[in-house]
């Protein structure tokens, strides 16, 4: 497994336990989604992987190395993270934002080619290349944030609620891109509230319940066979087109 999380506890301050014993695995080339309601602890789990949320106990192993080790570098291990608020720099142009995604790369000669590839994937970014990022809509900013993350040539892409607050047509576009990336072999851990679409595009899904407990995992059929999951989701994923079909 590329990413293994075992019995993870994350505590904010002295009393707020955001994750309680969460365990999760992502294999190389897999698209795994983590679904659950607001406040379940999904974003916290992503933040703990990139070192923003403090790990209280448990382990996170990436490619055999402990992520919690002080010497572990998220960037050197090519883990790209797109935060829930997208993290787009409003004072920079679209082009400057995009180029920042490759700031840590040493193969400078390949960067322009990669930018061309991302501009072909997200044509709106080419159109707005010299425009201030603050002038982009939410959907355009999300495309910029994903394109910027891809410029790291990530071995693992962490997407936190990429469709949150977006119009349905943009949600479709984002999920199309996620499917495209999955087909290209990019390993993705996707945090989403849109359970149906997430299960549909993912190889496997984990269902998380507050405070940070995994209720169940698997493909659509496996999730449908789990009563606790069905009760929590409020629907049976049996009919959802997923990896199982």
């Amino acid at each position: 497994m590329l990413l293994e999380i075992n019995d993870l506890f994350v505590r904010y301050g002295k009393s707020v336990m955001a994750l309680q014993g969460a365990s999760l695995e992502v294999g190389e080339g897999e698209l795994v989604s983590l679904i659950g309601q607001n406040g379940a602890g999904k974003s916290t789990l992503l933040k703990s992987i990139v070192g923003i949320a403090p790990v209280y106990s448990g382990s996170i192993t990436y490619d055999g190395a402990a992520v919690t080790d002080k010497k572990f570098s998220v960037i050197k291990n090519r883990i790209a993270y797109v935060p829930e608020d997208r993290g787009v720099f409003s004072s920079l142009t679209v082009g400057e934002n995009l180029r920042l995604g490759a700031v840590s790369r040493r193969d400078k000669g390949n960067i322009d080619g990669d930018i061309e590839r991302e501009l072909a994937r997200f044509p709106i970014l080419e159109e707005y290349w010299g425009r201030g990022a603050s002038l982009l809509s939410g959907g355009e900013q999300q495309q910029l944030a994903i394109a910027r993350a891809l410029l790291l040539r990530p071995k693992l892409l962490l997407l936190d609620e990429p469709t949150l607050g977006l119009a349905p047509i943009i949600v479709d576009l984002i999920f199309d891109v996620i499917e495209q990336l999955r087909d290209e072999g990019v390993t993705i851990l996707l945090v989403e509230q849109n359970a149906v679409r997430s299960i549909e595009v993912s190889n496997r899904s984990y269902v998380m319940q507050a405070p940070g407990k995994i209720l169940g995992s698997g493909n659509a059929n496996e999730l449908a066979a789990n009563d606790a999951v069905v009760d929590y989701l409020g629907f049976s994923p049996t009919g959802v087109k997923g990896d199982s079909e």
Binding site: L92, E96, V103, S104
Partner: protein, 291 residues
């Protein structure tokens, strides 16, 4: 007469803009209100005193070297260990650094005010387009113009500038993208050091003296200018400094003689009005649309 006032206004405004940029740059990136900035200015000015018997450019180069080295050292020794501390802790640390630098200078090489005779060529004046300007005014304008223009170019056109702007906006996200936080912060302190050195050089040329306490007034002007313009916005901070300097000269030139003594009262009343109307500063940065 009006042209003369305008030249004086721009001259002082540009000088104040240098002061505000150094303050705003560090605040934007670190959330650090650096009260030691005045002492960095003083260190630059002290170099001018130390090399007062050499050609003026030797003193100027020494001022830049001294100010940059001390500025970077304060980052390395005092602020880096507190990188993740809250802004209040950082602010108190900067007070400590300020007092420490001031005290060390007073105890060692600068126990009392020392005179630095102005370079003779700086006191000469000439008539340009019918107005009398001193060489010092021209040098000030050119120096401020070159530094502010150079900084604008650096911020806009170089990878370091883009990283500085990104870090000033959201340091955590910039770091998560691979921007080297320590390098960016050290660069910001070095740039602030250059700005402080230039301010020190101009102050020495205007005042003809150096003292351990000389950094306080420029520090306060820098903070007020930066707050008026918008603390986290470099363009705003420069604008705030420019307006503060221009306002100072304008009031001095237009107030009746009886009221000139109250110039600062008028000036800072205007500052308060600005802050009541725009508490975030004149240019606070555009908000990101969310839909």
């Amino acid at each position: 007469m009006i042209l003369q006032i305008i030249v004086d206004m721009v001259g002082l405004g540009a000088t104040y803009a240098l002061l505000t940029i150094g303050i705003a740059l560090l605040f934007g990136i670190l959330g650090l209100m650096n009260f030691a900035y005045g002492e960095i200015i003083m260190i630059g000015a002290f170099a001018m005193y130390l090399f007062k018997d050499y050609p003026w450019f030797v003193g100027a180069v020494a001022a830049v070297v001294f100010a940059v080295v001390i500025s970077v050292l304060t980052e390395r020794l005092a602020f880096r260990p507190l990188r993740n501390a809250d802004p209040v802790t950082l602010m108190i640390a900067s007070f400590a650094v300020s007092l420490a630098l001031q005290s060390v200078m007073r105890m060692t090489v600068l126990p009392r005010t020392q005179g630095v005779p102005p370079q003779p060529f700086l006191t000469e004046s000439m008539i340009v387009f019918g107005i009398r300007v001193t060489v010092l005014q021209i040098v000030t304008l050119v120096l401020c113009g070159v530094l502010l223009g150079g900084l604008a170019l650096l911020m806009k056109k170089t990878p370091l500038g883009v990283q500085l702007r990104a870090s000033a906006e959201n340091f955590q996200v910039a770091k998560s993208l691979g921007v080297k936080g320590s390098f960016v912060i050290m660069s910001a302190f070095a740039i602030a050091g250059v700005m402080a050195a230039a301010s020190g050089i101009i102050l020495v040329a205007r005042q003809g003296a150096v003292s351990a306490e000389m950094g306080l007034t420029p520090l306060l002007i820098g903070i007020v200018g930066a707050v008026v313009g918008g603390m986290s916005n470099l363009k705003g901070a420069a604008l705030g400094g420019l307006l503060l300097g221009m306002g100072t000269v304008l009031l001095e030139a237009t107030l009746p003689t009886d009221l000139i003594a109250f110039r600062d009262a008028f000036l800072y009343s205007a500052v308060m009005v600005v802050l009541v109307i725009r508490p975030q500063g004149l240019l606070s940065g555009t908000k990101v649309r969310t839909s």
